[in-house]
């Protein structure tokens, strides 16, 4: 929906990184990788220091929680003793030392252990939840991308028809409702008021007692359980895809090469796919990657509302519990998955658009 950005002149402006990175830098993919690494580093560092800026520390919270749950079985001192025993890290060491040791272990792919469950590595915690988020977000997003592309193309071809109006108006309508509101509305109406769906049976990622595996029953089951989050991830960006695709198609339709293709007597189907569709989709590919970041973030509240065991819910829980290593780990790993999605999109983009791969520059 953003106006078409005017291409920048990539040539000859100021500092020329080529001088420093030689041929490596010139390769757009290498640049994207470098950028990705930089992004991950920045996010990690940012959260690391922000977390240490927090007043208080998790020990106090643990004490509070212990006292609350022990129902008087613990004196304050006992609780304090227990809590202090839980936390291996020394929060009083100088920041830069903490940071260096953190980065050090990070390089060894060690994200540390959960504060609140010191026998559990953060990596294992995240690995247990991340796949579910990626699965639901990925499915929803891809479905909505495909549907949006299709509807957008159709709307553009039938410009000003009823279908166009319904698709573009309806699309922007659904898209402008915040996803958490949409989820609440689904629970409220489809679940509670009209009893259309039995959403209580859809909680969790799969049915309790079912053996995980690549069996049709299990796969059907995980789709059933992910249906509500997927619906949200499907609906929220749908309008954006429809509108973007519609306007991209409209401008592609005005391109000379489309008229030229018509003049060459090409069939409508071929023109629609290889000439209009493909060129119109190109700019959306990058947006697809960016939206991964957005949706993974938005997943927090959706997973919370639908009781889906994803990384977003884990993050929220860790925030409430001040489980720093887990917060840190979740932010890091989601950043990585988002960045990887971006990289993949860059790669895909350069595959789809021959102008990028060889000319360089426009990537990113």
């Amino acid at each position: 929906m953003t106006a078409v950005p005017v291409a920048t002149k990539p040539v000859g402006v100021g500092w020329d990184p080529r001088r420093y990175f030689g041929g490596f830098w010139r390769h757009p993919f290498a640049r994207a990788v470098l950028k990705a690494v930089l992004t991950v580093w920045v996010t990690t560092t940012l959260t690391f220091f922000l977390i240490r800026l927090m007043p208080g520390n998790p020990v106090e919270l643990k004490i509070d929680e212990l006292i609350q749950t022990a129902n008087g079985a613990l004196t304050y001192d006992d609780a304090k003793a227990i809590a202090s025993g839980l936390f291996a890290i020394d929060l009083n060491a100088p920041l830069h030392e903490q940071y260096l040791s953190f980065i050090g272990s990070l390089l060894r792919l060690d994200l540390g252990r959960s504060f609140l469950s010191s026998g559990t590595t953060v990596t294992s915690i995240i690995l247990a939840v991340l796949p579910w988020t990626l699965f639901s977000v990925g499915t929803g997003l891809l479905l909505s991308f495909v549907a949006g592309i299709f509807l957008g193309l159709l709307a553009a071809y039938r410009r000003n028809s009823l279908l166009d109006r319904i698709a573009s108006t309806g699309g922007s309508l659904v898209s402008s409702i915040p996803n958490y509101n949409l989820a609440l509305l689904i629970i409220l109406f489809a679940g509670v008021q009209w009893h259309l769906i039995n959403f209580t049976s859809m909680r969790g990622a799969y049915t309790s007692g079912l053996e995980p595996g690549f069996t049709p029953a299990f796969i059907a089951d995980i789709f059933y359980h992910a249906a509500l989050p997927i619906t949200i991830y499907f609906l929220t960006p749908l309008g954006h895809w429809i509108l973007s695709m519609r306007s991209a198609t409209l401008s592609a339709l005005e391109e000379d090469y489309v008229t030229a293709a018509r003049a060459r007597g090409l069939s409508d189907g071929r023109i629609r796919t290889a000439y209009v569709g493909r060129n119109a989709v190109l700019p959306l590919v990058t947006q697809l990657a960016i939206s991964v970041g957005f949706i993974v973030g938005g997943a927090a509240v959706i997973e919370q509302l639908f009781a889906y065991q994803g990384v977003g819910k884990r993050l929220l829980d860790s925030v409430t519990q001040r489980d720093y290593p887990v917060i840190q780990g979740v932010v890091l790993l989601t950043t990585i998955s988002v960045v990887v999605a971006n990289l993949a999109a860059d790669l895909l983009y350069s595959k789809l658009d021959p102008r990028i791969g060889r000319a360089g520059g426009a990537a990113g």
């Binding site: 025993g85 915690i125 209580t200």
Partner: protein, 560 residues
């Protein structure tokens, strides 16, 4: 205190079979695990652990006596507390249950800072059925500390227990480096599967984010007494459990349900149990940041200036009530633990009296608020934990009501993980923090205002000076709190408790707003039957000695 009594109650009246569905917010693997000494164990800290790692006994609150579970009997012999264990009980892997399991539980428990170790110095096991706890500091709190810990298997924790025993008998302490290492080892220990000595055991394959299932453990405690074949526990906090209860999926839930939900449950025809919890929110004034409240008259005025009863009812309806005796512990404990209740002021809602008190204290009431002599208007912020929905409701209510009274109070909420460190650090003028706790002894409740949120808090909390003067003269709360738990003779403890109670009532170090009752819905139409009438004393169980668990264990509850 009474230390006798065998298992009471129904004892398997109903038919066997069927399922019991409960709800609890457990933590999922891999963060959740099966080391019940460490935090975040699956179902850890919850009522359902009693079904697979039961404690030695459970307390009957109204009768003030112990119902024995894994213990056969228990006895105080001088400074030694001796527990005889039941025989013939087996762990789920077939190992017999013995005194070793109990000893290991407490030795490893010492690494986990089990409170009993503040009072005992060793545990001995003269034979397989006997465990002896040797007091170094006799206290009446000890019995509960011994009897209400879930017993874990020696087979799994024995090695750790041995290490701990050697370490402590060798003079080691938790604060030493070696102690810390041992504690860390204990915390990091991860048994690969659940275990059980109770009537049920968790089926590890059934654990999902949505629910888990417990199946019968044939050799376990009360295996023949319990009726249900399965106990299903749905995972979730209030928001997630509510629809399940409404949907009829859950037979019994312990969550604190808001009024709307409470009403919806009633509409569905569920029974609502309103048992005691012995706790609730209170207003804490920072001694230095809100110096006006150093004058007890102002605190008394505030206590009367708004309808504390209503503040609770907003969220809980009839599941909350303002305490009658404002003494810092639950009303139900007052009769047993104090000698004279006549002088306890209830501070019932009375704006006129409050006005008068303010006037006496030298404040003038203008049209838009109350002013000190210097002309300064009284304005504060009430800092509450926004993720405690019930408190949030009470906080906004209180702020509005006090503002209306003339003390301008703005409610500001932050999630507990933010609010608590802030209040501990003294960053507030008025804060909302808990009062009371679920212990049949009042002392742990009284610890909260004086130690937890003041003296012991990092940053000093509300900075309340512990030496104060009241009608009975000068009092040092810290020492009197110690006096209140010394020795086994609870009758002797009544004096210090009466003293603190009276001082609390006059000085109001914090203002308890309401005492919460739980509002547990019981669905007796779907699967479960056997629930006694709502006026039964069993529902008065407190402090984690959950009545539903007690009734499952003793076979009172059964399928329809």
């Amino acid at each position: 205190a009474p230390t006798t009594g065998g298992p009471t109650g129904g004892g398997g009246g109903g038919a066997k079979g069927g399922e019991f569905h409960g709800g609890w917010p457990y933590v999922l693997a891999p963060q959740g695990h099966w080391n019940f000494f460490a935090t975040n164990a699956i179902l850890g800290g919850g009522i359902y652990t009693d079904l697979f790692i039961p404690s030695l006994a459970v307390y009957r609150w109204v009768d003030a006596k112990w119902d024995f579970w894994l213990a056969q009997s228990a006895q105080q012999n001088g400074d030694t507390y001796e527990v005889k264990l039941r025989s013939g009980i087996k762990w789920d892997d077939g190992t017999p249950f013995t005194s070793k399991d109990v000893a290991t539980t407490y030795w490893v428990g010492r690494l986990a800072s089990y409170g009993i170790w503040n009072f005992i110095d060793k545990i001995t096991t003269p034979d397989d059925q006997t465990v002896q706890f040797h007091y170094s500091k006799p206290t009446s709190l000890g019995e509960r500390l011994i009897l209400r810990n879930g017993i874990k298997p020696d087979k799994i924790f024995g090695a750790l227990g041995k290490k701990a025993q050697d370490f402590y008998t060798g003079g080691g302490t938790n604060s030493s480096d070696a102690g810390k290492a041992l504690v860390a080892e204990m915390n990091a220990f991860r048994p690969d599967k659940p275990y059980s000595v109770g009537p049920y055991k968790v089926d590890p394959a059934s654990v999902t984010a949505a629910q888990l299932t417990m199946v019968r453990n044939t050799g376990g405690l009360f295996a023949d007494k319990v009726n249900y074949d399965k106990v299903v526990v749905y995972q979730g906090e209030t928001a997630e459990i509510t629809p399940l209860v409404l949907n009829g999926d859950v037979d019994y839930a312990t969550h604190g349900f808001p009024l709307a939900t409470d009403k919806a449950f009633q509409d569905k025809g569920y029974k609502i149990v309103r048992g005691p919890i012995f706790t609730g929110p209170a207003l804490y004034f920072h001694w230095e940041n809100a110096p006006e409240f150093q004058d007890k008259r102002l605190r008394q005025a505030v206590a009367m200036a708004f309808n504390r009863d209503e503040a609770g009812k907003i969220f809980y309806g009839s599941s909350a009530r303002a305490p009658q005796y404002m003494v810092g512990f639950a009303d139900s404990l007052v009769k047993n633990w104090t000698t004279d209740q006549s002088k306890f002021n209830s501070y019932a809602f009375d704006a006129a009296k409050a006005d008068q008190l303010m006037k006496d204290a030298g404040y003038a009431k203008g049209s838009d608020g109350i002013y000190a002599k210097g002309g300064k208007a009284l304005a504060y912020e009430l800092y509450f934990p926004s993720d405690f929905q019930d408190w949030a409701a009470a906080a906004t209510y209180t702020a509005d009501a006090l503002t209306k009274f003339g003390i301008k109070v703005t409610a500001r909420g932050a999630i507990r993980s933010t609010q608590l460190p802030d209040t501990n650090a003294g960053k507030f003028t008025i804060a909302m923090n808990p009062w009371g706790t679920g212990n049949p002894h009042p002392q742990p409740s009284l610890v909260r205002p004086f130690r937890e949120f003041s003296k012991d808090a990092p940053g000093g909390g509300m900075k309340y000076p512990l030496t104060q003067t009241y009608s009975g003269g000068s009092i040092n709360f810290d020492t009197v709190l110690d006096d209140a738990i010394t020795g086994f003779d609870t009758a002797k403890q009544k004096d210090p408790i009466q003293k603190i109670a009276q001082a609390f009532n006059e000085l109001l170090p914090c203002i308890p707003i309401y005492e919460r009752l739980n509002n547990n819905p019981i669905n007796d139409k779907a699967r479960t039957a056997g629930w006694p009438g709502l006026d039964d004393k069993i529902y008065q169980q407190g402090g984690g000695d959950n009545f539903a668990i007690v009734m499952i264990m003793d076979g009172t509850l059964h399928k329809i």
